[in-house]
Assembly symmetry: C2
Homo-oligomer: 226 residues x 2
């Protein structure tokens, strides 16, 4: 297995998960930032280590000092992205207390905010299939965390007869699927703000789980970057 980064890489800050509604600009290292641009524009296979080094303005050996290889860079970005959403989703769920309706609404809101405000990072998911089987597995374990959280909430809501779902697992996948598809069409320059998209998706998600109750309206939040 390839490790995603070596010792000397500066720490990566992805914002304060406790304040899950607030998304500050992602602080990526120069190498990760340049790699994200390159992968987004040309895909994983269309990007060479040399391309990344040129963008950052470092030598190829300098790049290898921080990351074992190109796949390790992709994995680092994917893990960073997924860990961020996982932490925010957990904070959002906790913020909903014991109420499955509010917890689900918060988690959907957190996921949609990430999809709209960090859309390039979110779009990177289509490159996952180029990871080696071990790294794909490693990445999926993190991503699975989001699915497990949503599934647990859906099941709890069903148990308390707040939700009306036939198949909790499939409904969970459908909910995540609708959110994951947002980067396909969402453009930061478009009419819809991240807040507006989040509001709409919370409403649609409540329908999808057949919720008998409605969550409280989300508070206003500050809009940050990508």
């Amino acid at each position: 297995m390839v490790s995603s980064s070596k010792g000397a890489t500066p720490p990566i800050e992805v914002g304060n998960a406790a304040d899950w509604r607030r998304l500050e600009p992602t602080k990526l290292t120069p190498i990760l930032s340049a790699s994200l641009d390159a992968f987004y524009e040309h895909g994983f296979h269309g990007t060479s280590v040399r391309d990344i080094a040129r963008r950052v303005g470092v030598t190829v050996p300098a790049l290898y000092y921080h990351h074992e290889n190109k796949e390790a860079v992709l994995l680092a970005l994917l893990e960073l992205s997924t860990s961020d959403v996982l932490e925010r989703a957990h904070a959002a769920s906790a913020d909903g207390g014991d109420d499955p309706v509010q917890r689900l609404a918060n988690v959907i809101e957190a996921i949609v905010l990430r999809m709209t405000m960090r859309s390039r990072l979110a779009a990177l998911e289509s490159e996952v299939r180029y990871l080696s089987p071990e790294n794909r597995q490693r990445y999926r374990t993190v991503r699975k965390g989001v699915e497990e959280l949503v599934l647990e909430i859906v099941k709890e809501g069903k148990k308390r007869e707040l939700f009306d779902v036939a198949d909790a697992a499939e409904t969970t996948r459908a909910l995540l699927g609708m959110c994951q598809s947002i980067p396909r069409w969402y453009h930061a320059e478009g009419k819809l703000t991240p807040d507006a998209v989040a509001r709409k998706y919370v409403e649609i998600a409540m329908k999808t789980v057949g919720s008998t109750e409605l969550p409280v309206k989300p508070k206003k939040r500050r809009t940050a970057d990508v």
Copy 2:
């Protein structure tokens, strides 16, 4: 603008849309079939025209005789895939007569069958962003057809008070998003048959639009390939 194929390309058969539940193996030309494999395995940018020629066992000039360049091959595959789903979706909708509930159920079923039974072709959508702006636009026009069809049904159902949706356009995107995410997790070798996935997604879609009525159970259909 690059044309997707030149005169001499053999006609491509994608099945009989009228019998929308039946998906025969996609009949691709050897070049398109090899390209689909290569793009799926290594991505658009990770595949060279030489790679494709080698897989087919033809010379590079022979390949250029049929397709102007690599992008034209990708566009041909995407258009083929999207036209197929568009035709099937329209046939499925027509099969539901005048009833928005049955029409939506049929269209979701048709889309899910395509996502599960032609998953490699469906997964190619993540390569769309590598098309030139003109070709991306051309492709989007075809894909827009599916969205317009679903939107029209959702609006009609809302008008007749059969569906309870706040935002028909966003609900349509959410419905398509949940279907489009299926290739991320669906494996033909897994426990769920395409029929079973389609049944579950029809049920979830009915919830999502807040349908007051349920569609009739789909008929058994024959399972084909990828």
